[in-house]
Symmetry: C2
Subunit: 340 residues, 2 copies
């Protein structure tokens, strides 16, 4: 995640003045119980989805795909939930620096911790990549996987999105929740394939997306098994094992799924290779890009955005006829009704 | 796999004289369609299995485990199929050396290839670890994942076990096939967690065990995504990424499953840490070791065997009350009826 974090921090600096995005209130909540794609307006995106699912599930059709091969992969940040104004995992890392600071008095004099603790992200950025990597490594490693899971659960249960004031888990896209359920109802197995840390996502994605931990592929650090007395533990080491972003996504898919997906869903250039890999297999294939066009209900961004830059993948979508969702036009509602 | 391969080769040398194991014919085939654990004799092993499954699936019981958490992990070599007189994957590697030799005239003068081509495994062994690693790397990498899959499929469809003359896929254990199906019928999700190469297993395990590729964890090499013209490929690189054996098994489980199993099945010291990791979680837990005791219908081996050594894990099973299958006593039948 160091490259991603650098991008985020540079963007935060650029956006630290005026112009930080705001989130408009949702339209009146609709019932979550309504089946199907009820938050999707009629239009080419919705039709492309239902046409594809119709073709691959129709017994006897030349495009029929057995259920076991109906693998669908979803990017997370910007595809299933909001990634603006900052990746949720970065907010987590910054909060961890603050929480761990009392045990690390040396951080008061060590960048990037010093700058983070002073709320000065510009200075944090100036300490360059090595410092940022150190920050993530320090706050995400040196503990057992179970200790880390507890920390994530504690944080995600209370941390609020800086603009909407909702829990981060309330910043998921209602139409995508419906799409996940619709695909599963049609025999698909849904996976997350994200640049985010796999150990950061697994504690909550089953509850939020209905996707079990074993169907989450993400960036990961190296792990080590050891016995502590007669208790075995798995330790998180401060070494990167896979950056599951860009060309790392087909690698993560091959390592952990081992079967080429037939449908892929993303929103940025970090998803380009996953979309290429998915669509170049034989038989029916589907690729969809979520285009952030709604600056009232969410944030509008694409070619120039340091977070979720959509440039090459957009050109490729146009050239290859991939489905592009226009969030403003295609989605009746962005976020689910807020849970009380 | 280099350590494993060294062990195998040293064992092959030791066993190159008399005493190589033979496989007796099976008893009269029973119907594969019969449901349940029909190849298991009544006894403590069968009872331990059915008691555990009964407890974790009984709604309202204090030991009830929701279906989503019923993760069961199985070692492959020696647990689901025979690993004697040599690991199937080693037979594959040796055959690949022979098949690729015409394109590598230099192998006639390069160890360990020279010795393998001359059928002299003792000399191959003498070329030491580096040479063996080179052999596996050369025969398993430098190609796309799809090319490798085709090679495995071609080989596994025709290669015969050296003693029984059966296809290797006919060397699976009928009682374990029944156990896999029984667990799945009771809401378990069954995974393979093997020291074998994940790309070697995935092409055939769904057909043979009913376990889909995405539920296979194994040793793996590094991969690389690249475009060849407008066609994306994933290349197998000659670098080891994970040795999924011994302490590597809990690491592979955490990386690819991300949830601690509640039941684990193995046969050797290479499974010890997986069994420890599985049984040390909270709530009901189950561990089982397949003990190779039948020198008539298969091969009897344990503490001294270079392949599938069962020593520390056996002691731990005794100390902790894990279930140990005595193949001779507990299994009515070892292999399935041969398919014609």
């Amino acid at each position: 995640m160091p490259v991603v974090l650098l991008l985020v921090l540079s963007w935060l600096i650029g956006a630290s003045g005026a112009g930080a995005p705001t989130f408009a209130a949702d339209p009146a909540p609709t019932s979550k119980a309504a089946p199907g794609l009820h938050s999707w307006n009629e239009g080419p995106a919705r039709k492309a989805i239902t046409d594809f699912v119709g073709r691959v599930t129709k017994q006897g059709s030349k495009d029929f795909v057995p259920a076991a091969e109906r693998i669908a992969v979803f990017d997370n940040d910007g595809t299933l939930w909001s990634e603006q104004p900052l990746y949720c995992q970065l907010a987590f890392a910054l909060d961890r620096v603050k929480a761990l600071a009392p045990q690390h008095p040396e951080w008061k004099e060590t960048e990037p911790f010093k700058a983070v603790l002073a709320g000065d992200l510009k200075a944090a950025m100036a300490s360059a990549e090595k410092g940022i990597v150190g920050m993530v490594m320090t706050t995400h490693t040196g503990m057992t996987t179970e200790e880390f899971t507890r920390t994530v659960n504690d944080w995600i249960g209370t941390a609020k999105h800086p603009k909407s004031g909702r829990l981060y888990t309330g910043m998921v896209y209602q139409p995508m929740l419906e799409l996940l359920a619709y695909l599963r109802d049609n025999g698909f197995k849904t996976f997350i394939v994200s640049g985010g840390g796999v150990e950061f996502m697994r504690p909550w994605v089953e509850r939020v997306y209905g996707i079990p931990p074993e169907q989450v592929v993400g960036s990961r650090g190296k792990l080590k098994f050891e016995m502590r007395g007669d208790q075995p533990v798995v330790l998180k080491l401060p070494e990167i094992d896979l950056v599951d972003d860009g060309p790392g996504k087909p690698v993560g898919i091959q390592q952990c799924i081992g079967r080429r997906p037939i449908a892929a869903f993303g929103n940025s250039d970090g998803d380009l290779q996953m979309l290429q890999w998915t669509t170049s297999g034989s038989g029916p294939r589907f690729a969809l890009i979520v285009h952030h066009t709604d600056d009232v209900r969410e944030v509008a961004y694409d070619r120039q955005s340091p977070i979720g830059k959509l440039d090459k993948a957009w050109d490729e979508a146009t050239a290859r006829g991939w489905t592009v969702v226009d969030m403003k036009k295609d989605w009746k509602q962005i976020f689910p009704p807020e849970m009380k």
